[in-house]
Symmetry: C2
Subunit: 397 residues, 2 copies
């Protein structure tokens, strides 16, 4: 078979060195006979882990590969939203090309799955959705891309957006997105009814950007929890950013956390250094699944980011004061299994029968891999090599 | 002369490309005749800036180059202090070797100056001071190292430490250090009288670690301000970390800030993501000099850090929500001129007559240099090449 390979001298999850047999693109059970003449790949003693999971980014609007964009945008969220919509055309931010560039960068860093929010608005219509879907097809076999139809410019405040969101779901977006029902849309009931209505109609998950802080964010979160419970959507709803969980009223945060756990609502945090944000250990201890992502990379919102989910694990670790090796493992788990659970991936992991979507990391320990972030030795998707020594097998456009 | 060189095709502070003449290790005035036969170095269109300034680190206790240290330390500050003192011998953290490793790493990343706090305690005596002083001599001409005698384990709670601090100053430490006069020493008046007493006796500056948060930290800060004013030490006192300036009572913070500015007391911040911390724009707007540093790198306190002051500029930028290009320039200034001012460096900068301590950065803009952090094209110390393409000209031990 094309995707049969014996991966020699690798250390699963930084444990003892071993050989790992991959048959038909999946991990074989221990003790399976190695077929004669099988291709071998030398793992060089590297750490073997499942592929990194980029569970929150915006593939359609990175500026990667374009001339440097001098950022002069205003301080408010709405400044950044309006500036972006305006300059998308001027800067020629082609969603197909830009998503391909970023996705290839992700592959080079060892990500095997991406959840991308993609802008849907009345000015650019489904251009973003179509562009990222083209990239998804083009890179099939290299990386899996899931699309969230994302009403970046607001849903209720821009009539016609709800209809476009519906079209995006028909066109093949897998997840219904949302954004600050109070802060941006000024109509939390209205927006959330539309978002959950679409989710119900298409039988798809929900992933809502919630930048709202403090008690206002808590209120929006309560509305999301109520709808999740009412529609029986437990396990299929993610709240991204959830800055309100960083508020100082920890009693209220504990109440919200308990409700999130009871309704299997997931939290995505980038580990932002400049804002209050969820405490990942508290959430996980309460049973809430936590994932992470790069968010915007080199876009009109800001210049940071490189699509490296090991760097993201460092940010999450630093933000949550994770220092001990057992704590660093939490940051790593968030950037792998956490994302896989949120994306409801089938066959993710290193267990026999799981898909051989994997990365080989340099370092003695997972913690060392996170803090050094050396170029990835090898990345495989379904047992096929897709990146080596930090370079994807295909060139970015 | 050995240190005469014509640096061609460089872009000072990301401005237009030009050639820069260095004579006798210093920048020549514009229009100075280029001596015939002078050595030339091709800058390849890179950005030219003064050398990066690592204004707060701990050269004596990094674990760089040692086997991976599995961190299992407890959560309190004192846990980390006691754990470190205990394992210094067990792990063979030789201050001379370890400081040489870290300083060479700094050179490779474009730092030309380091202020290093160095542990002084009754268990290890002046071993750290002697080790870092040996490295200072060994690397003379590659990087300048300034030593702060630092009572990491406490000054008042460990009798004998004050005498060792005195000996450290006699031995050649340039700055008197201190640490959490309330939180660690439980005797703020006692500690600060000793610290400022040493500073007065030796005519040296002061740099105090102040992790104390909220109102307690504000109280310690007031005591430092009072002594600075009383001794006429304006311009020679730095408060490192100053987490208390991140407290929510912004009226009190504004009062403290005003007093810091009036007494020319400097602030060092690493841009920590997990703790309240100073707001750099507020401080600079008030006239306070702000510098930054890596703090501990890969030590028993935690695994993070790589001595790259461009990465530090990114952290400071992210922590302070600096996104626009003009804001990114603030982060860069903190990691260059801010550090130079705190260290009271003579001849720092790109002006004619300044020392040719410089780095060539890849990128269209300073912001791009910060977010991409490509290996440094070239680093010069006094007009002499000390690192090229991310590698120091000498190997670490």
């Amino acid at each position: 078979m094309q995707n049969d390979v014996l991966l020699t001298n690798v250390r699963p999850m930084a444990g003892p060195a071993t050989d790992v047999l991959i048959l038909d693109g999946r991990f074989a059970a221990a003790g399976t006979a190695v077929p004669p003449g099988i291709a071998t790949v030398d793992g060089g003693g590297a750490i073997l882990t499942p592929g990194l999971v980029e569970a929150h980014t915006h593939l359609d609007k990175s500026l990667l590969g374009l001339p440097w964009y001098t950022n002069e945008v205003g301080p408010r969220l709405i400044d950044k939203i309006e500036n972006e919509r305006r300059v998308k055309v001027a800067l020629d931010i082609d969603p197909a090309r830009q998503s391909e560039r970023q996705a290839i960068l992700s592959v080079s860093h060892g990500s095997t799955h991406i959840r991308s929010h993609v802008d849907v608005d009345t000015e650019h219509g489904l251009r973003g959705i179509e562009g990222v879907m083209a990239t998804r097809e083009k890179l099939r076999g290299l990386i899996d891309i899931e699309l969230v139809a994302f009403p970046q410019s607001g849903l209720m405040i821009r009539p016609g957006t709800a209809e476009l969101m519906d079209q995006a779901m028909q066109a093949g977006a897998e997840v219904v997105g949302g954004l600050d029902p109070c802060g941006i849309d000024r109509d939390p009931k209205g927006q959330l009814d539309v978002v959950f209505g679409l989710a119900e109609r298409y039988g798809r998950p929900v992933d809502i950007h919630l930048h709202e802080r403090g008690e206002m964010g808590g209120f929006s979160m309560e509305l999301i929890i109520e709808r999740t419970a009412a529609l029986g959507m437990q396990g299929h709803v993610t709240i991204s950013h959830a800055f309100c969980l960083g508020m100082t009223d920890r009693t209220y945060v504990a109440e919200l956390t308990e409700q999130l756990a009871r309704n299997c609502i997931h939290i995505m945090t980038t580990g932002p250094s400049g804002t209050p944000c969820p405490a990942v250990k508290e959430l996980r201890d309460a049973g809430v699944v936590v994932c992470s992502g790069s968010d915007g990379i080199r876009d009109t919102w800001g210049p940071y980011g490189n699509a490296d989910m090991l760097e993201r694990a460092m940010f999450v670790g630093q933000r949550n004061n994770l220092r001990r090796d057992d704590e660093m493992a939490i940051a790593f788990d968030i950037c792998t299994h956490g994302g896989a659970e949120v994306m409801e991936l089938e066959g993710y992991g290193l267990e026999p029968g799981s898909k051989a979507d994997l990365v080989l990391l340099e370092g003695e320990s997972l913690a060392e891999a996170i803090v050094t972030r050396a170029p990835r030795r090898l990345v495989m998707k379904g047992g096929k090599v897709v990146a080596e020594r930090g370079r994807c097998i295909v060139e970015a456009p």
